[in-house]
């Protein structure tokens, strides 16, 4: 072997050793500052998330008054007995569909942390999806076949279901049905009347009655007109009062119902002024969301519209997928109690990329 080859071999080995040691020292030198920044940011944002859920904000009851914008932001119930219990009205004011909703700018200002952007989402622990699968027309009545699925990420959730049907001059309680995740149910409605109708399903987990969900399906009973959601009214529950805004002066309200797992009530009108009608929502000791259904007429057209109290699913803030390129975003998930029922609250918090 020529001497030059041996020289080259040793030179290359030396260089490889140098490169390897340089790599190791660079990695160990940079690992500490990079990872500690990640840890610090993660811990800081987690503390902010906890602050939002464990503090009432200022004033403590800012959720109840529609005109109040909080000076300090916090979602905790000021009368709560335990941690991670959120105020039903503060949560309702996170929903953009609510007349009294806060804007992102208002929350951002009251949070008083200028270098933090955020998103807050609150939703049930499982989903209840209702679909119309078949229609059977009989003599003097029509039968509708629905499927009700209770799932979480595609996995069936066994639940007890309370079923209501609302139509013109009709509130029918179909009782409680047991579901291992998916059931088919038949609803028979008389052909004496036609027009929009609504199937409301309230679901409770078989294993924990505080884990609840809800779903609804609007359909038209022997009518060619499709059902329209939010076409005639804007329904905004807050402070145990339902504010109904009529979208035009020709609209008249018939009945407004409050439906929970164990109760169904007809609400009494409180005030009526300038197309704003208010109803009192009773305080029920029922670990269940309250589905509020309003029926009425737009000239000669009957309609059924609905909302839910607390006004969920609620979501406000940055979109985590869009902001990933702009900021370091961390997600934190908590189980929260609202009106004795359990929901999932996810907070995304982030700041400028470093």
């Amino acid at each position: 072997m020529p001497a030059i080859s041996i020289d080259t071999f040793f030179a290359c080995s030396l260089m490889v050793l140098l490169v390897l040691s340089a790599m190791a020292s660079t990695a160990s030198f940079l690992y500490q500052p990079i990872s500690s920044f990640g840890d610090e940011a993660f811990i800081r944002y987690r503390e902010i998330a906890k602050y939002i859920l464990l503090n009432t904000g200022e004033p403590a009851d800012w959720g109840k008054n529609s005109q109040t914008v909080p000076e300090e932001f916090g979602l905790a119930d000021f009368e709560a007995a335990g941690p991670y219990t959120l105020d039903v009205d503060k949560v309702s004011r996170l929903n953009g569909e609510n007349l009294h909703a806060l804007s992102y700018a208002q929350i951002y200002t009251s949070l008083k942390i200028p270098d933090v952007c955020f998103r807050i989402e609150i939703k049930p622990l499982f989903e209840t999806v209702v679909n119309l699968t078949a229609i059977y027309e009989g003599e003097g009545e029509t039968t509708y076949e629905f499927t009700v699925e209770n799932t979480r990420s595609g996995v069936s959730v066994p639940a007890e279901l309370r079923i209501y049907v609302v139509a013109e001059n009709l509130l029918q309680n179909l009782g409680v049905q047991s579901s291992s995740g998916e059931i088919r149910l038949n609803v028979t409605i008389s052909n004496d009347f036609n027009g929009p109708a609504l199937l409301v399903v309230l679901a409770k987990s078989k294993y924990n009655t505080k884990i609840v969900s809800f779903g609804a399906y609007a359909f038209t009973h022997i009518s060619r007109n499709p059902a329209v959601k939010d076409g005639f009214l804007r329904l905004s529950p807050l402070n145990h009062t339902l504010t109904v805004v009529l979208n035009n002066p020709d609209i008249t309200l018939s009945e407004v119902y409050a439906l929970t797992f164990n109760h169904s009530l007809t609400l009494e009108q409180k005030t009526s002024q300038n197309q704003h009608v208010t109803f009192t929502i009773p305080k029920l000791l029922d670990a269940s969301p309250t589905v509020l259904v309003a029926t009425g007429w737009n000239s000669t057209q009957f309609f059924v519209e609905w909302t839910v109290y607390p006004h969920i699913p609620a979501a406000i803030g940055i979109s985590p997928t869009e902001s990933l390129s702009l900021a370091d975003v961390y997600a934190y998930t908590y189980i929260v109690t609202i009106n004795s029922a359990l929901y999932r609250c996810t907070l995304w918090l982030g700041g400028p990329k470093r």
């Binding site: 660079t26 990640g38 924990n208 934190y332 998930t333 908590y334």
Partner: protein, 139 residues
């Protein structure tokens, strides 16, 4: 002249190798950092889930009645998606109480977060249980 050019090319090549491998090494360390965060976050999530279940006495009620399937299904709903858990209940003398597995997978072999929680039964007869909850992210 030609020899000098060759040496510079070799130095350039080694510098390029250094840069590439350093970036790989740094990204490897960054990934390790996120793993640590997931573990600490999992412990926090698990503890909060147990506190929430215990706040109305339902955790103690599941254990008192031996409703292990109920406890398993409830934890499956409460814990985030993609998290496997294994829960073991001991009495005051550290004897295992649960007669069947309260788990939705086997977290062994993964980075596991462990939580120890003391739960008091709401029975008139004073009883307490030590609950061990192991959590791991399913990959």
């Amino acid at each position: 002249m030609k020899n000098q050019r060759g040496q510079i090319r070799i130095i350039e090549a080694f510098l390029a190798v250094l840069i590439i491998f350093s970036s790989i090494a740094i990204s490897a360390s960054l990934t390790a950092g996120h793993k640590n965060m997931e573990s600490s976050d999992l412990a926090s999530v698990g503890l909060q889930a147990l506190i929430k279940l215990d706040s109305d006495g339902s955790l103690g009620a599941y254990i008192d009645s031996g409703n292990w399937s109920g406890l398993r299904e409830t934890l499956s709903l409460i814990l985030p998606e993609g998290v496997s858990f294994n829960l073991t209940v001991y009495d005051g003398k550290m004897r295992q109480v649960n007669t069947e597995a309260v788990a939705n997978g086997n977290p062994n072999g993964q980075e596991v977060a462990s939580i120890k929680y003391v739960c008091v039964s709401q029975n008139p007869n004073f009883k307490y249980y030590v609950v061990y909850l192991q959590l791991a992210v399913v990959r």
